[in-house]
């Protein structure tokens, strides 16, 4: 296949960006999208040009490093995959593909397609954990968790922190990300003692980072590579309300 790419190039956070057109020949359907970008970058280096910056690492959809808006969709046209798991068989010969970074005020562009998502870390630092020192844990089977609850908590905990939910949302809201952590811990007995405080602290941190409000469009769930459900947002709202009333 031959593919034309229109890629957002931006030297750094303080410079202006623009789309630059590139073409890549001999694209094979078994290639991942990132492998196709690797090929482009090798070509660029050979020509003495600056390769396209994008974040990536595990390339199996679990580290959450990668994240590119492809033809307007975070992580591209396939469902339930991160960009690294998107294969070129989803495209056809002659396609023109628009390639952009996550766009959100809380995720400033560092270079090209790489953005700063440290806002997510700061939200979790505010309270997205169970406060237990190393060594003070009781015997593991002393804490019983019904199978269904454990599985529900697992589904929420499967979030990879990639930020696609924010990129997909017209308000750049981080509600799906925050609610996944709230849900994961609220569903488990271990998370119960701090659940109110956690909801208050994390929501406050989220607001301070400049994420927008949730208007229930469901775009986040549709683009989430781990198919995290918007039902968690409802739980977050309940947790938050309960916390503010007491």
């Amino acid at each position: 296949m031959k593919i034309t790419l229109k890629i957002w190039r931006q030297k750094n956070n303080s410079s202006k960006g623009r789309f630059v057109e590139y073409s890549v020949d001999n694209v094979n359907g078994h290639m991942s999208f990132l492998e196709m970008l690797d090929v482009l970058n090798e070509n660029l280096i050979h020509k003495g040009e600056d390769p396209v910056a994008f974040t990536h690492d595990c390339r199996e959809g679990i580290c959450g490093s990668c994240g590119i808006v492809i033809n307007g969709r975070p992580h591209g046209p396939d469902t339930a995959v991160a960009t690294c798991q998107l294969h070129m068989r989803n495209f056809k010969d002659g396609d023109v593909i628009l390639v952009e970074p996550w766009r959100a005020r809380a995720f400033p562009v560092i270079k090209d397609l790489a953005v700063d998502r440290s806002a997510f870390d700061r939200i979790l630092q505010a309270g997205g954990y169970v406060s237990v020192d190393t060594g003070s844990a009781p015997e593991a089977n002393a804490i019983l968790v019904p199978k269904e609850k454990a599985e529900e908590a697992f589904l929420a905990a499967a979030c990879i922190g990639c930020g696609a939910c924010v990129a997909a949302c017209k308000n750049a809201s981080a509600m799906l990300f925050v609610s996944a952590k709230i849900s994961h811990l609220a569903l488990l007995p271990q998370g119960d003692p701090e659940r109110r405080e956690r909801a208050l602290k994390m929501v406050k941190a989220m607001d301070e980072e400049g994420f927008g409000p949730c208007t229930n469009t469901g775009a986040c769930e549709a683009e989430c590579p781990k198919e995290i459900s918007v039902a968690h947002i409802a739980r977050l709202n309940r947790e938050y309300l309960m916390a503010t009333f007491t």
């Binding site: 094979n28 078994h30 290639m31 991942s32 492998e35 090929v39 090798e42 660029l44 280096i45 003495g48 600056d50 390769p51 910056a53 690492d57 390339r59 199996e60 580290c63 959450g64 490093s65 396939d78 339930a80 995959v81 798991q85 294969h87 068989r89 270079k111 790489a114 998502r117 440290s118 870390d121 979790l124 630092q125 505010a126 309270g127 997205g128 954990y129 169970v130 237990v132 190393t134 060594g135 003070s136 844990a137 009781p138 593991a140 089977n141 804490i143 019983l144 968790v145 019904p146 199978k147 454990a150 697992f154 905990a157 499967a158 990879i160 922190g161 994961h184 488990l188 271990q190 998370g191």
Partner: protein
């Protein structure tokens, strides 16, 4: 002379004896000590969090944009612990024994026993943090069995155990960052260790966004920077995983142990083309329910390779379940090294099934019939989905095609019982050290070791060192920092100024080819000598023909890669040298000259019951030996038949 500083007493009592006699830092004094932790995977995050909880001041460096991205996140199958929840005869001693045996008697007994002792606490800790492990209907924790063990001691969270454990440690870390005990520096790539007065006193790191070279000082430095599997270019490691931190430490005087001990994992998705950037693992847990086979005849294999028939069409009589045939008592659950070599043997003999001839089947048909699709989906759903996304084949209907790939490195920085390297004050934990896995690691033991080191061992042992070194004022104004920094600047200028024709990736791929073919799943003296020559040529070419772009003082991934490849090239040569020295086959190190009549690894305990620990010198690596003594187990020929 290498002194592993193993405590006195019987094996079962060593750790307790140690805990009693260890020097402690008083709670009021802990805040006077600054500890640098490099890496934020299971080992680094758990260590930084636990040290912060104790009251130490911790600086944590990671090249990722968030600590949660570290490669521990990708571990799939599970974590072992000697809980004996299944009443199937497990015990601390059995976990210890299985690990020593699985490692083919090339690990240190005292360390492994301690690992088995603390294993249970790791599960307690993770559960208390809210790690959503799989559960039984009664709400108790579920277990599964894993390769190399006959008991079910593996705790898991679907095929995402590493992710869930890392998020647990990351949560504990976040709590300490919030409390101000840990200061986090993301997108900072450690480039060198600073040694002054014979002690580790800090590191040099590059800010990957601005390109700024920065100095960090500490009373101790902990490297939790993972393994070096990416020396092979293609491996199941994450793309950025690299050896620079441990290699720089080696260059500064830390001994490098057993570099030749690498693990080739049997169940990975085969390579599909030259553009391939990495290989994807399919968890070993799949071998619990999947049966490995190739056809009995070469004709059938040929038809399968050409897609003339489908594997589902091959009748039971035509299939060779070669692991079950060769190893009736362990069957599909033999350790990784055994399973990998058996796959290579069948493919080399012409029975391979992928288009390249390098592939075998992992078939779930029988398990789906026995347990139902729902059960299999609950166990491995995300792995099946991952497989289908990559290959476009549905493993519920058609067996997976798999082939071995580089996965883990048992070698690493040599450490004593305190987890300290030969540089005082420099520690190595997790995969970065030469570890407790001997010549072969058992499945679900990497997570256990990383967390044992980080949560329970290092936080105690580091106090023993710090208590004897006053928390004096730290400064980065020492000449040693100056020298280390200017050397780094020179290196960078040199790499950026070569203007040759080959990119860092091209050099890396070429190195990977050499390593895979000659220092891979099976090795021989001729191939190893050839590899050393080839690597030297490649290193010489790297000096003159490297192509880079961009500047030092900016975001520059080409430069990052060039620095990593430079270190991989040097390390590759040491790996080949170590493999050449070890004239025996043990665990993942298989020397063709040393095998039994039926093709199994033949150890030579008389001459090689030692850890090879290499010291850097300008004249070339110098070998030191740590002789291993076995108090509790008697090394025997491993048999899984």
């Amino acid at each position: 002379m290498l002194d592993a500083k193993i405590p006195e007493g019987k094996l079962e009592h060593k750790w307790n004896n140690y805990l009693f006699r260890v020097h402690l830092v008083s709670p009021a004094n802990k805040r006077k000590y600054q500890i640098i932790v490099v890496g934020s995977g299971l080992a680094g995050a758990s260590a930084a969090a636990s040290l912060g909880e104790l009251g130490y001041q911790v600086t944590l460096l990671t090249y990722h944009d968030s600590p949660r991205r570290a490669h521990s996140i990708a571990a799939q199958g599970g974590i072992n612990a000697a809980k004996n929840y299944h009443n199937d005869g497990d015990s601390v001693f059995r976990l210890f024994y299985d690990t020593i045996k699985g490692g083919d008697y090339r690990a240190r007994e005292a360390n492994v026993y301690r690992l088995a002792q603390v294993s249970s606490h790791i599960i307690d800790q993770a559960v208390a943090q809210g790690v959503p492990f799989a559960r039984e209907y009664g709400g108790h924790l579920d277990n599964r069995s894993f390769g190399g063990a006959q008991v079910a001691r593996t705790f898991y969270a679907k095929g995402q155990t590493g992710q869930q454990l890392l998020l647990g440690s990351y949560g504990a870390l976040n709590r300490q960052i919030h409390a101000g005990n840990v200061k986090l520096y993301t997108r900072h790539d450690m480039l060198d260790v600073v040694v002054a007065d014979g002690q580790a006193r800090g590191v040099i790191a590059r800010d990957l966004v601005t390109g700024e070279i920065r100095r960090f000082s500490g009373h101790a430095v902990v490297l939790a920077t993972g393994g070096y599997g990416n020396v092979y270019y293609l491996s199941t490691n994450a793309k950025l995983s690299n050896a620079t931190a441990i290699w720089r430490a080696y260059r500064k005087g830390a001994f490098f142990a057993n570099p030749a001990f690498t693990q080739i994992h049997p169940t990975c998705i085969p390579q599909s083309g030259d553009y391939q950037s990495k290989l994807t693992l399919m968890s070993e847990s799949l071998r619990n329910d999947g049966r490995v086979w190739v056809p009995k005849t070469k004709e059938t294999a040929e038809k399968l390779r050409k897609h003339q028939i489908n594997p589902q069409d091959v009748t039971e009589e035509e299939r060779d379940y070669y692991l079950e045939r060769r190893y009736p008592s362990f069957g599909n659950l033999v350790p990784r090294d055994v399973a990998s070599r058996a796959a290579k043997e069948r493919c080399d003999a012409g029975f391979g099934v992928a288009p390249t001839g390098l592939g075998v089947y992992l078939d779930f048909k029988e398990s789906i019939e026995r347990h139902g699709k729902e059960t299999i989906e609950a166990r491995y759903g995300n792995l099946f989905q991952m497989y289908e996304k990559i290959t476009s084949h549905n493993p519920y209907q058609r067996p997976m095609t798999i082939y071995p790939a580089v996965h883990y490195t048992m070698g690493g920085l040599w450490i004593d019982y305190n987890l300290m390297t030969t540089i005082p004050g420099l520690y190595a934990i997790g995969e970065a050290n030469f570890s407790d896995h001997g010549a072969n690691r058992l499945g679900a033991s990497a997570l256990m070791q990383g967390l044992a080191d980080g949560y329970f061992i290092l936080p105690v042992t580091i106090g023993d060192y710090l208590s004897e070194h006053r928390g004096d004022d730290l400064t980065t104004d020492r000449p040693e920092f100056e020298t280390a920094e200017s050397e780094m600047r020179e290196t960078i200028d040199h790499l950026l100024g070569r203007n040759g024709k080959k990119t860092p990736d091209q050099f890396h791929r070429e190195l990977g080819e050499i390593m895979w073919h000659s220092v891979g799943m099976s090795r021989n003296a001729e191939g190893l000598n050839h590899a050393i020559e080839e690597i030297r040529k490649l290193r010489a070419e790297f000096e003159t023909n490297l192509k880079t772009v961009g500047k030092a003082e900016e975001y520059n991934e080409t430069l990052e890669k060039a620095m990593r490849v430079r270190d991989f090239l040097e390390l590759g040569e040491l790996m080949a040298k170590d493999a050449l020295l070890r004239e025996e086959s043990c665990g993942g190190h298989f020397r063709e000259e040393f095998q039994t009549e039926d093709g199994e690894a033949r150890r030579d305990d008389e001459h090689f019951t030692y850890v090879s620990a290499w010291e850097h010198s300008p004249q070339g690596p110098v070998l030191h030996k740590e002789h291993l003594t076995f108090e509790k187990v008697t090394p025997t020929q491993r048999s899984y038949k």
